[in-house]
């Protein structure tokens, strides 16, 4: 696969991921430091090679830039920033790093995301239901008390508008669990059926427990550098061919597109155009899946099927191991682990390197990775190549 003329000439040369899941007793910052060290070592580099650092985080907040820089003994950085657009941040960090490297500013940039919201004595879902103040507190008191409620409202809108069904959403959960069974890093590895899905308790009707992502402690980091430098590294380079962003905004406002069209419609087309590849050339899709519905909407907005036909598409047997479409091949955030946008990015890198073990996709030259932040408020897409 040759790179498009607009491709930045950058690559992911290193990948580091900590243990993920119910790993207690470590802060997000500790996880972040651990994953950065792993990524640098994976690339065959040392901290002395690093001249860029981008950080992002989840519920526990961004790992502090200054703390990370000091703890990792990174000196004289040419790029340093905290990035926060929620679930699209991981992709945006790779884009920012690539832009800096392509411009000749920084030469080796580490992008890290970390979170440690889980406590041993706390239920997973409760960490996203913290009391808020001000106008958001008013909404919280009147029932808008978690992202899941808002995604449930988005899902219902799609169901009403296009006739999407519970069973169709369930097909995504079942297929991704089948992939997770093959992923030793996945938190949920027991196969499920559509009957299991339908028997799961409601979190917020129309979303059941198995429609919702996991909550995990952990961190992941990638090293971005030039293709030339990556070629001399310890790992097969994963080239960055294209990117796109779209931030529709309209949070809690009158938004006719809410639940019907996401930023993926624009960011996907932009990333493919930059990479100079077409959708039917893509071997692997790693799509942000905070909920099953997010996958369904992104599938439509990327153009894998017509708008409104996502339900029929995902329930047609194309997903899951052996299916026609290699999508969320590690189990995603629903069944794998929840490191926000790093979950699909890590899986794409491992697939493109040919290091995905039992779940390795047959064809793995080109991958699309999506990130979705807030409640369908931010979207970013990457096109990556082996």
């Amino acid at each position: 696969m040759s790179a498009g003329t607009r491709s930045p000439g950058t690559a992911i040369a290193g990948l580091g991921i900590t243990d993920v899941g119910k790993i207690f007793g470590r802060s997000a910052t500790h996880f972040a430091i651990d994953s950065v060290r792993r990524a640098i070592a994976d690339a065959g580099l040392t901290t002395a090679d690093i001249d860029g650092l981008l950080t992002s985080g989840g519920i526990a907040g961004n790992p502090p830039l200054g703390t990370l820089q000091a703890q990792l003994n990174l000196r004289h950085l040419k790029l340093a920033a905290e990035v926060q657009a929620y679930g699209s941040s991981a992709i945006q960090m790779v884009e920012l790093a690539s832009r800096s490297v392509a411009a000749g500013e920084a030469s080796v940039v580490v992008c890290v995301w970390a979170d440690a919201p889980l406590r041993a004595e706390q239920r997973s879902g409760s960490v996203y239901r913290q009391m808020r103040r001000g106008w958001n507190g008013l909404l919280h008191q009147t029932g808008i008390r978690s992202p899941t409620i808002q995604y449930a409202l988005a899902t219902r809108r799609h169901m009403q508008h296009f006739g999407t069904t519970e069973e169709q959403l369930g097909a995504i959960a079942v297929a991704q669990r089948a992939w997770a069974v093959l992923n030793p890093r996945a938190q949920m590895r027991t196969p499920i059926t559509i009957e299991d899905y339908l028997a799961a308790r409601w979190v917020a009707d129309p979303l059941r427990l198995l429609d919702c992502c996991l909550v995990s402690n952990g961190a992941a980091a990638v090293v971005v550098t030039s293709c030339e430098r990556a070629a001399d590294g310890d790992q097969p380079p994963v080239r960055v061919l294209g990117w796109g962003q779209s931030h529709p905004g309209m949070r809690l406002r009158n938004n006719p597109d809410f639940g019907l069209v996401s930023g993926a419609a624009h960011s996907g087309a932009q990333a493919l155009a930059m990479a100079d590849v077409s959708l039917n050339e893509i071997d692997i899709f790693e799509l942000y899946d905070c909920y099953t519905f997010t996958v369904l909407l992104t599938v439509e907005d990327y153009g894998l099927c017509e708008k409104g036909e996502g339900g029929a598409f995902v329930s047609s047997g194309v997903l899951g191991p052996g299916g026609k479409v290699a999508l969320n091949t590690g189990g995603g955030q629903l069944s794998g682990y929840y490191l926000w946008g790093m979950t699909p990015l890590v899986e794409a890198v491992e697939q493109l390197r040919g290091q995905a073990g039992e779940r390795q996709a047959t064809h793995h030259d080109l991958a699309v990775v999506s990130g979705n932040g807030g409640v369908l408020e931010h979207h970013a897409t990457l096109v990556l190549a082996a």
């Binding site: 008191q141 409620i149 449930a152 308790r201």
Partner: protein, 132 residues
């Protein structure tokens, strides 16, 4: 239809709740284009103008979307509480609880009306009810 009651007053949450305690839900009216925005808008949702002032919502709305939150009932048993996106007749969307006197089938565009709930713990809150 909106009234000019409350025009030019500071648009704080405290003031909003004070109006709510009197049974009035305030929206923002744009002096430039006449468009309506949510009560906490900093700029007009239609034209971007900052020339906003509060006006009282008529209190009628239509159902845009709904979900049922799984909450603990009085005995600790799980209950499904309806939560909605409603579009006020003036245009803005508002997200909040739907209070049902009896189970009801919900549909897009179902007419709603705004009501005020006095919660012993949370205070005065806006809720929606079916309009018929």
């Amino acid at each position: 239809m909106t009234s000019d009651e409350g025009a030019a007053e500071p648009r704080s949450l405290t003031a909003f709740v004070e109006h709510l305690e009197k049974g009035t839900f305030m929206l923002c009216r744009c002096d430039d284009c006449g468009g309506c925005s949510v009560p906490n808008a900093e700029q007009c949702e239609t034209c971007g103008s900052v020339a906003l002032r509060w006006c009282a919502a008529v209190g009628t709305a239509r159902l845009v979307s709904w979900a049922y939150d799984n909450v603990s009932g009085s005995g600790g048993d799980p209950q499904l509480a309806p939560v909605v996106i409603a579009q006020f007749s003036e245009g803005p969307w508002w997200w909040g609880r739907l209070t049902l006197d009896a189970p009801a089938a919900l549909n897009v565009d179902t007419p709603l009306r705004l009501d005020v709930s006095a919660d012993p713990e949370a205070g005065t809150l806006p809720v929606f009810r079916l309009a018929f």
